[in-house]
């Protein structure tokens, strides 16, 4: 639908490149065909993981990893495709028969449920259950995940979710198969929004507090059979799920087994050795130190790589002196040595150098480099010239906020080195990982600059540029416009684009807005980080999914040989 229009230009070519890297095994060597080969029915896929899932409750969890996992146990009205590259980010119907019918100029959206849908309990999934699930998003304790339902759907200002405030009148269910949403204002891409986790059905009356975090109620092909928080999670088949109602999920294995809390180094060692059930295992991206070890042909055949769809950048606080001066910001953009920054996170195998704000996976993104330097190693002379023009040839101090993570510290030190010749003394301010976003999102507490990243909630400029650069969104707490850029030109352009009804035109316009913003240099785009996955030798049907931060699409992965 609206999504297809996005699959042009850069996205398509980037996706092709992805497939080329990702499909290492495709036809490379006869029988043992690698992770891309066909998966058979049966067996259990092992997942080795460091961190446990944030939440099992679909209204609470909201990140690439958990969104990918939710598709195994939950279904939403629509969902993303199940394929590598651009096909994967295309929105397709899931519980609903289509991707929605708009009326009232795009302010009212109607969805019809398919036949033969059941919860794991055997109860049928009705429109009332979908409505119950969506309205949970307004509950102050439960609705902490995807914000889009709350932002777009019209609701009384005092509404606090079904447990506290009861029925939400702006979502109606004329019959058990039909659900109608009334929006605050027209939104052309609402078909993508109902693919968000918050549009998961929850049996009416259930799911208060942290009930679903302990025991999810499955609507997808698997259900939770055992859950030890922080240690293990076991999924088995949900026999109430009917394959005929689901065109997206292959669901080949009989089950999944997660092991959490493993040391990243341990995971890499086990994946490299690949003994026993580790042959049926998948895991997250390997560490920089392991890159050199997976260069043998046997191991290379088991690797997959692609970008994770996020941009790592350094925000410059435009309200602080001298960063209110555009020349200073431009000079920093010119001077940063992006090669050393990339080496700090693991070199070319684990990141591409970023030049624009939006990463290549975003629709309408334009590839350009406003502040070029030879080999991206930084152009100190050009930077010095700009600083001299601005009257800062004597240098100045810069306090850089970073998360207490070795990778972040390494990046910060690389930036510190790159700015040293300009007499800019970088003071690295390490903030613990738990409070980091709280501190830098509080305008009174953030310092001159901060390193952070942004991932689009779906690969469109709409979920990338407005949250980061709309000056009207600056809030004293929970602020995501780290540069505190409040430029009338940019603000006006954002309003203008949001009023476009053609999604393709909007995405192209966001590509141009990217350039307009970078001319003001409020941020230094640093890297598009990559995932580099090593999977077990018996893994089949695996590809990296663009919509889930480059993770292996769980609804398609399986085993090559289930009897092993």
């Amino acid at each position: 639908m609206k999504r297809t229009s996005m699959l042009v230009g850069m996205v398509a070519s980037a996706a092709l490149a992805l497939t080329a890297c990702g499909g290492n095994g495709n036809g490379a060597t006869g029988d043992s065909a690698g992770p891309g080969s066909k998966a058979v029915q049966g067996g259990t896929v092992q997942v080795l993981a460091n961190a446990a899932f944030s939440h099992l409750d679909p209204a609470r969890g909201f990140d690439g990893g958990v969104n990918n996992f939710y598709r195994l146990i939950y279904r939403t009205l629509t969902t993303q495709g199940a394929a590598p590259g651009a096909e994967g980010t295309k929105i397709v119907p899931d519980l609903a028969t289509d991707t929605g019918k708009a009326s009232d100029g795009g302010k009212t959206w109607t969805f019809t449920l398919k036949d033969g849908l059941f919860f794991e309990t055997g109860a049928p999934i009705t429109s009332a259950d979908v409505k119950w699930g969506v309205s949970r998003a307004w509950d102050p304790e439960v609705g902490i995940g995807s914000p889009y339902a709350k932002q777009l759907i019209d609701a009384p200002a005092s509404y606090q979710g079904p447990y506290k405030s009861g029925d939400l009148p702006t979502i109606t269910t004329p019959d058990a198969k039909t659900i109608v949403f009334k929006l605050k204002k027209p939104f052309a891409d609402f078909g993508s929004v109902v693919a968000q986790n918050t549009f998961t059905p929850v049996p009416k009356g259930q799911g208060e507090g942290n009930q679903l975090d302990g025991k999810p109620i499955a609507s997808g092909p698997y259900k939770v059979s055992e859950f030890k928080p922080g240690a293990a999670l076991k999924l088995v088949r949900n026999d109430k799920w009917d394959k005929k109602t689901d065109a997206v999920r292959s669901a080949n294995p009989d089950g999944f087994q997660w092991t959490f809390g493993l040391d990243p180094a341990t995971i890499d060692e086990r994946m490299i050795a690949g003994q026993g059930t580790d042959g049926d295992a998948i895991a997250g991206s390997v560490a920089a130190a392991s890159v050199a070890r997976i260069q043998t042909p046997q191991l290379k055949q088991r690797t997959m790589t692609g970008i994770n769809g996020c941009t790592t950048y350094m925000g410059l606080n435009t309200t602080k002196k001298p960063f209110d001066n555009v020349k200073v910001r431009q000079a920093i953009n010119l001077a940063v040595n992006k090669q050393t920054v990339r080496d700090a996170v693991g070199g070319s195998a684990l990141a591409d150098i970023a030049t624009s704000i939006q990463p290549p996976s975003v629709a309408g993104r334009v590839d350009y480099d406003p502040y070029p330097s030879p080999d991206h190693k930084g152009d100190v002379e050009a930077a010095r010239k700009l600083l001299t023009e601005a009257g800062f040839e004597a240098g100045f101090p810069l306090t850089l906020d970073i998360r207490a993570q070795p990778k972040m510290q390494a990046m910060a030190v690389a930036i510190q080195q790159a700015l040293e010749p300009l007499k800019i003394t970088v003071k690295i301010n390490t903030i613990d990982t738990a409070t980091y976003y709280e501190v830098i999102g509080t305008t009174s507490q953030q310092h001159d600059a901060a390193i952070t990243g942004w991932c689009p909630d779906w690969p469109s400029g709409a979920t990338f540029l407005p949250p980061l650069f709309d000056g009207r969104n600056i809030t004293p707490k929970g602020n995501s416009n780290l540069a505190q850029l409040n430029d009338p030109g940019v603000n006006a352009k954002i309003t203008e684009i949001s009023e476009l009804t053609d999604v393709q035109a909007a995405n192209t316009a966001y590509g141009e807005l990217d350039k307009q913003i970078m001319a003001l240099a409020p941020v230094v785009p640093l890297l598009y980080e990559k995932v580099l996955m090593l999977v077990g030798s018996n893994i089949g049907g695996a590809y990296l999914h663009d919509g889930y931060s480059g993770g292996i699409d769980l609804v398609s992965v399986g085993l090559q040989n289930a009897g092993k």
């Binding site: 180094a265 560490a287 130190a289 050199a292 070890r293 070319s348 190693k377 390494a410 910060a412």
Partner: protein, 319 residues
């Protein structure tokens, strides 16, 4: 754990040293140490480390690379940033090789790291020494409520899981001046071990004739404490503090190893070992070099401390 050396001080020194050494002890210790080949080797190694620390800027000028300068040419970006060349990139250019992912010179970082280790451990030793001796003497001399208060504080501090608490505090405190924070935190949990011994010995000494005599001749409390008792504690203090230095070097390295020590880009041996952990199978030299320096320094200090203790013990037995 880093508790091992602390235990060593308490348990081994607590019993044997009763009263201070004779005035000639310094010369005797020197004689014993210079005659012992092992001890001499330790002194030599420590001298080199101290020299490195003191002359760090000069030495790195000679070697050509500073501790913070990146050398992208020395690492292979396409292989995750592993150093080019054998043995972690050891070459005429980089004497000890380079750090993976950024190519910083390991020799320069070892030399500068010695500064951090020595400054922090010496400062912590001085601070614990002063706190431990003063509070221990007060408790032992005055007894009564003073002793009660000080002893309860010591019980409390020693019941604390010091390592966990040190890390927790250091990780949540704002960056600030890291070395100073490290010294303060290490000393805060270190002084009771010295104070306990000093307190016991002060109690014994306070009952001796010469103290009684000093009192009878009208000396004030403070005079008695500092003129009569303190000199007699000299032996214990020397032994305990020499044995404490390697403990503190280990603690500083341990805290840096756990990521709450000095802040980047400052080099410290513990920090270097910490960043080498994930690389040890690909680039073992990155781990081996700082590991060897740390081990040899601690070993040298421990051996030396042990020799000094034996020398003082023998001195007492002789006198």
């Amino acid at each position: 754990m880093t508790t091992t050396p602390t235990l060593l001080e308490v348990e081994e020194v607590g019993t044997p040293v009763a009263a201070g050494g004779s005035p000639a002890s310094a010369r005797r210790i020197l004689r014993i140490v210079t005659r012992d080949k092992g001890a001499l080797a330790c002194v030599l190694f420590l001298a080199i480390v101290v020299l490195m620390a003191v002359a760090a800027p000069l030495i790195t000028k000679l070697s050509g690379w500073g501790p913070y300068a990146f050398d992208s040419a020395a690492i292979d970006s396409s292989l995750g940033g592993v150093p080019r060349g054998a043995l972690g990139g050891i070459s005429g250019e980089h004497w000890f090789g380079v750090e993976p992912q950024n190519g910083r010179d390991l020799f320069a970082r070892i030399v500068y790291g010695a500064r951090v280790s020595i400054t922090i451990s010496l400062s912590a030793t001085v601070l614990t020494g002063v706190l431990g001796v003063v509070l221990g003497m007060l408790a032992g001399f005055y007894r009564g409520w003073v002793d009660q208060v000080i002893s309860r504080v010591m019980d409390f501090l020693m019941a604390f899981p010091a390592l966990i608490f040190m890390i927790a505090i250091l990780s949540s405190l704002p960056a600030g001046n890291r070395p100073v924070l490290l010294v303060v935190v290490i000393s805060a949990f270190g002084w009771p071990y010295l104070a306990r011994v000093i307190r016991g010995q002060t109690m014994t000494l306070a009952g001796r004739e010469f103290v009684e005599a000093a009192r009878a001749s009208g000396a004030k409390d403070l005079q008695v404490v500092f003129r009569e008792i303190l000199p007699n504690l000299r032996g214990s203090i020397v032994v305990m503090t020499t044995l404490a230095i390697p403990g503190y070097i280990g603690t500083e390295a341990g805290l840096s190893f756990l990521g709450v020590g000095v802040s980047p880009p400052t080099a410290s041996w513990g920090q270097m070992i910490s960043s080498s952990v994930s690389w040890y199978s690909v680039d073992p030299m990155f781990f081996a070099i700082p590991g060897a320096f740390l081990f040899l320094t601690v070993l040298s200090l421990t051996v030396l401390g042990d020799k000094i203790r034996t020398a003082i013990d023998q001195g007492e037995a002789a006198s």
